[in-house]
């Protein structure tokens, strides 16, 4: 049960930015997996090389570094491709290329770090942070990562909600996601906002990565890759446009992975290795039942609904 909640926090932090980035930038971004991994590795390097035990500091630095990485991606790869008239599929494939490149760059970085500080960074143990308590409530111990995850997920949800609803910049972002041409005409600086979207999305995912280091027993450069399936499934349940449906998706997938597989194992003897299969099955079901892009029905779903009502 605790695992279910824990994973739910993680999935919320990982998938909300994916939905946000897709609906504003129309790029299906595979580098998302690397945001998670690089966020985790910022924390790992800070801990391994400088002995940092403050999760807050690691989170802030990770936010900045990975956010800038995301903006660089956009500036150097996605925007030039879009200017040359590439189709979204081409850009998605270019993001796959970046995904692989980033992974091996990280391998190189860990090797270089190993050369200087002879610790093995390719597989790094769990980090226990000094500034997050672990609370015991009524006989159940809530670990550090649980508390930190809860706080972070709540802050992320509140922040995204307030940002998109209340601030002008947030509303401008929503305008771009709904109808780019109109947004451009009404004087919204699209390029700056798109870069800002990348920065925020990359940053939030990086914070999730930092939290991952306090939860997972061993962190490798492939850490984000193994979760990318679940994160995209959740994104598709939200149609990659609707943020609250993404949140619901996070709850569903987390429940299936933790509670669902436990039931199946206990009552039907299904081996635990079936866990990814459940996620795959959900992904395929969602895509088949709600084309073209999951439960949200693609862009612009709000307008599509109104047309049907007529």
């Amino acid at each position: 049960m605790i695992n279910f909640l824990q994973y739910m926090f993680f999935y919320i932090i990982f998938s909300l930015p994916l939905t946000l980035s897709y609906r504003t930038t129309k790029v299906i971004n595979f580098v998302h997996a690397n945001f998670i991994t690089y966020g985790a590795y910022v924390a790992v390097f800070l801990h391994g090389m400088f002995g940092n035990t403050s999760i807050l500091l690691a989170a802030i630095i990770a936010f900045l570094i990975v956010g800038s990485m995301a903006v660089l991606d956009n500036l150097l790869v996605f925007t030039p491709l879009q200017k040359r008239g590439s189709s979204p599929a081409m850009i998605m494939i270019s993001s796959m290329g970046l995904w692989i490149a980033y992974r091996y760059i990280l391998y190189m970085l860990t090797d270089i770090a190993h050369f200087y500080i002879s610790k093995n960074f390719v597989s790094y143990g769990r980090i226990t942070y000094a500034d997050v308590p672990s609370i015991t409530l009524g006989g159940v111990t809530l670990s550090q990562s649980f508390i930190a995850g809860m706080i972070a997920a709540t802050i992320v949800i509140l922040a995204i909600y307030l940002f998109l609803e209340k601030t002008r910049i947030g509303r401008a972002m929503r305008a771009i996601s709904d109808n780019e041409v109109l947004a451009g005409i009404s004087g919204i600086p699209k390029d700056i906002l798109i870069n800002l979207t990348w920065f925020i999305c990359g940053g939030i995912v990086a914070i999730g990565g930092v939290l991952w280091t306090s939860f997972s027993g061993a962190i490798t450069p492939e850490a984000g890759d193994s979760m990318i399936l679940q994160v995209f499934t959740i994104g598709f349940i939200g149609g990659l446009v609707s943020l609250w449906r993404t949140g619901v998706g996070a709850i569903i997938i987390s429940a299936m992975e933790n509670i669902g597989i436990a039931f199946l194992n206990a009552f039907l003897g299904v081996p635990v290795s079936f866990r990814p299969f459940l996620t795959f099955a959900t992904l395929i079901t969602t895509l088949v039942l709600f084309p073209p892009l999951g439960a949200g029905g693609g862009l612009p779903y709000r307008f599509r609904k109104r047309r049907l009502l007529k």
């Binding site: 824990q6 200017k83 390719v122 143990g125 027993g217 290795s273």
Partner: protein, 432 residues
Amino acid sequence: MAHVGSSTVPLPSIRKRPFSIKLIVMILIPLIIGVALGYGIAFATMGGGGVTTIPSEKTVYKIGFTLPLTGELSSIGKIWEKVVSLAMEDLNNEVASYGFNVEFNAVVLDDATSDEKALQNVQSLSQQGIRVIIGPAASSQVKVVKTYADNNKIVVISPSSTSPTLAIPNDFIFRTVGSDAGQARALSTLAYQEGARKPVVFFRNDEYGNAFAEFLEQNFREKGVTISKLSYQTGLSDYASEVATLASKVQSEGADSVILIAFDTDGANILSHAAESEILSKVRWFISEGPHGASELLAPAVGKFASKVKLYGTRPLFIANPLYEDFKTRMKEKFGIEPAVFCDNLYDAIKLAGWAILRAGSYDGEAIKNTLPEVAKTHYGPSGWAMFDAAGDKAQQDYGVWAIVSTTEGYQFKDVGVFERGSVVFTEQSYP
């Protein structure tokens, strides 16, 4: 200029030509560079591959290595890399002191603890003309490599593959470590002696884990104990839900102990999650040799858990071997690290490989395959007597017991006992 979406439509023909010239140039230049590099490399490695003879100078033999520098055994793999450099240096010095005008060079490749990569590495090493390869580490990898090695007459010496299913005579696979048939006996005796009467075996679903679990089941049955088995898929990034399933199994069956058969990354992950489980912190834990030496297990979360559940593990270790102590001191002096599991087996594998090549007189796979057991018969090293049995595995293998103890420098691995004459004898008390 009108913006349609965020793309601009380029004007035809005038804009296109510079674009395409750039493209052609960008393709040609790397092509030329690539071809030049290829020629250069081929030229440098030409001339018999594994052997180059420069008249009136040393004969150079190449030994190939496929090590798990990344992947689930990366922590041990990184320590092995250092053992390789130490062993090659020792081998060259020893050979020179006997008056041979010979030098051995190591060619190290990373196989990411994956089966496919291990096979690829063996293939590319053999294409370079190398006929003796040390590695791969995991039993599943050795299984995959075996057919190629046998068909192409390449001697493969694995220092750490322990699955009894690969104990096959008359092939080109040799293993300088005893099979898990022996370790299962040691581990089951350890658990039984410590009071385990209802153990759950939590093991990797691969060659190594499956075989180990079966032998554990047999050994426990001989003692009159029935075990429960739970396997987990390998290669996942996180095992939290697997550990949760383990916890519910332990609870529902009223188990009193867990025996974990794992590698580094998965082992550390599982132990960290187990540390947070009330149920799993109340039972005794025993562990195989897989994660020994991995620094992830020395994280405070795991170290505390280890003392709470009095974690003991077994590993291949020759009892009271002065050469091992010597090896340990030299590793500490030169690299500042303690040798992990199989480092001694690796060291001896390298020494054996070198001497087998010399004794064969020619760098030929078949010849080396025949001289290797002969050399091993009289070789004594940090891993003890190197003699092979009929299947090409180490004939005499002792086992030691290790624990994770808290010292002034944090948590460390410590050898705290031995498996001798059918029972476990503790040489020191590690958990108060």
